[in-house]
């Protein structure tokens, strides 16, 4: 089945704004920057079966930057794991859509995340299990740039290279911003591509990490890489698609209210 990624990413951005608006809180900025990577995975590359979320042979996705849960939920809903109408229950007491993803609450979520820095290690474990079982599935994992300040990320980077995990394909959502400011204000990442290369990874850098075509080409290249893991560095725009949120640090972790909520919705509908 061929999906229209432009239509999908637009719908996911609408879903994100609607669900965060309904919750009255959450993380719109990092959700919007990650939409295109997540959409390209779930609607073009991943070998999955929404009717059988725990299918043993499926490809896996670990949202290491778990605060972008609204983007993951949007993809899962649009892909048919659960009804789209439920997205607006995000963060509500009776909902199965927790503020950060929990694999036991939400069909389609492959790993619980929320404490930054742990997702790549979990992805490595899934890939090691796949290798032991002679399975050919891929494990995709999305990290934030601020998240890359966590030491465990680099422990896991070493492990993936040591074990030659060529079925681990990572993405870095390089939007330049975190909570208290830009990466450079809070803790500079330095030459991040050189760092991943130095850790033994194949590195692909995408000047426009919000372009599904670029992302898709990179994934195909990564799958052809043998003997080492691949990091796809995506230069993205935080808040992508909502004019006043784009590249604005203050929209990391709050929902727009009142008139701003309506403007956000109008922006994504106009995409």
């Amino acid at each position: 089945m061929q999906y229209d990624l432009q239509a999908i990413t637009k719908q996911m951005r609408i879903d994100i704004v609607e669900s965060v608006n309904a919750a009255g809180c959450g993380h719109p900025g990092g959700s919007l920057s990650a939409v295109d990577v997540i959409a390209t995975l779930y609607f073009k590359h991943m070998n999955i079966d929404p009717a059988n979320p725990r299918w043993a042979d499926r490809d896996r996705f670990v949202l290491s930057k778990g605060h972008a849960a609204p983007a993951l939920y949007a993809a899962l809903a649009e892909r048919g794991y659960f009804p789209r109408e439920d997205l607006i229950t995000l963060r509500k007491l009776d909902s199965y859509l927790q503020g950060h993803p929990n694999m036991n609450d939400t069909p389609g979520v492959d790993m619980s995340t929320g404490s930054l820095g742990q997702g790549l290690s979990a992805a490595n474990g899934m890939a090691l299990a796949g290798r032991l079982d002679g399975k050919d599935y891929y494990v995709y994992v999305l990290l934030g740039d601020g998240e890359s300040q966590e030491g465990q990320v680099w422990e896991a980077a070493m492990s993936a290279a040591h074990y030659k995990l060529d079925h681990v394909i990572a993405f870095l959502d390089l939007n330049g911003l975190q909570i208290d400011g830009s990466n450079d204000e809070v803790m500079s990442l330095g030459d991040i591509a050189a760092k991943w290369r130095a850790f033994g990874w194949e590195v692909i850098e995408l000047p426009d990490g919000n372009d599904c075509n670029e992302i898709s080409v990179a994934i195909t290249r990564a799958k052809a890489t043998v003997g080492k893991p691949t990091m796809i560095i995506c230069h993205t725009v935080k808040g992508k698609g909502v004019s006043f949120m784009e590249n604005a640090v203050e929209w990391h972790g709050q929902a727009p209210k009142g008139e701003l909520a309506e403007r956000a919705l109008a922006d994504v509908h106009a995409l």
Binding site: R60, N104, M111, Q118, G119, S121, G125, M126, A129, S159
Partner: protein
């Protein structure tokens, strides 16, 4: 016989590996000390050296478990519990993944390495996490049984094993381990001594001394501290009216605390906790350290006398 529980863990892991192809082992450059090295030798393709990176090891184990493996991740207790606590909490317990954490060199019996290496708080810390099962085997026989039971149990488990060799309490041929129930080893009406780990052996020695003086003690091996066998504790409290707990771990939050929590709500009786006071450890030979903290039969007997007023 009379070997350290870490030795029994290592041997049982090899046994388990032969029985169950889904069992895998990870270690953080301490395989020789935790004894997971036996598994590494027997099943190299299912053993993962993770480097000195406990956080990565624990989350990697979670990923393995999510894909159907039964990972045993081992290191010194202080590193796997304390260094990797966030990973234990969020990668393992929150998603309730089937990861077995094995903490060796726990408690003051760890010995010469001193205060940085002697985990006193591990039982308290692991016990406070939802979904976590906490098991402290009494001897080598029970350690083997607990490792086999761990693979049968679906969910996160912390298994505490010791560096120091200690006397074997159980008969390997007749002992059957029941994960969810404490074990009454000897029966008496005057008081109950509830112990775990290598303190079970010392509790039995104390019970013998007390018997010579006409004081009859029940000795309970509370190998599983969470979920704790509350029924058995209540039964002992009703029967004997006096409880002494003994552990080679901090009295803050450990076995003693767990027992008090149960009895305060179900059947309050006087309880005295014997354990490591609220301090860091120090260097010394393992068995010397146990005496240094008065984790011995003489002290148990003394406390029994105080409690009973005779």
């Amino acid at each position: 016989m009379n070997s350290a529980t870490r030795e029994a863990f290592g041997a049982a892991l090899v046994e388990l590996g032969a029985m169950n192809p889904d069992v895998v082992s990870l270690d953080a450059d301490l395989a020789g000390a935790t004894k997971s090295a036996g598994f590494k030798k027997a099943f190299p393709e299912r053993f993962f050296d993770m480097g000195i990176a406990e956080a990565d090891m624990v989350s990697t184990a979670a990923g393995l478990a999510s894909a159907g493996k039964i990972p045993f991740a081992s290191s010194f207790s202080v590193f796997i519990v304390d260094r990797a606590l966030d990973q234990v909490r969020n990668s393992v317990c929150y998603p309730r993944l089937n990861v077995k954490l094995v903490g060796s060199h726990a408690g003051p019996s760890c010995g010469e390495d001193g205060g940085t290496h002697q985990a006193m708080e591990d039982i308290a810390v692991m016990r406070s996490l939802p979904e976590m099962c906490v098991v402290v085997p009494a001897d080598d026989v029970e350690a083997r049984a607990a490792v086999l039971a761990a693979a049968e149990y679906d969910g996160p488990m912390y298994l505490r094993v010791a560096r120091l060799a200690s006397p074997t309490v159980y008969n390997a041929d007749s002992y059957s381990f029941d994960l969810l129930h404490g074990d009454i080893i000897c029966d008496g009406d005057d008081l109950t001594i509830v112990a775990c780990g290598m303190m079970v052996g010392r509790a039995l020695e104390a019970a013998d001394l007390l018997a010579d003086q006409g004081i009859r003690a029940t000795v309970v091996n509370m190998h599983t501290i969470k979920p704790i066998d509350a029924e058995l504790l209540e039964e002992c409290a009703r029967k004997t009216g006096h409880i002494i707990t003994v552990e080679e771990a901090s009295v803050v939050g450990g076995l003693g605390s767990a027992v008090c929590e149960v009895l305060a709500e179900r059947y309050p009786v006087p309880v005295r906790r014997i354990g490591v006071p609220d301090v860091f450890g120090r260097s010394g030979e393992g068995s010397q350290m146990l005496d240094y903290y008065r984790l011995n039969k003489e002290h148990i007997v003394e406390v029994a006398h105080e409690m009973l007023g005779r």
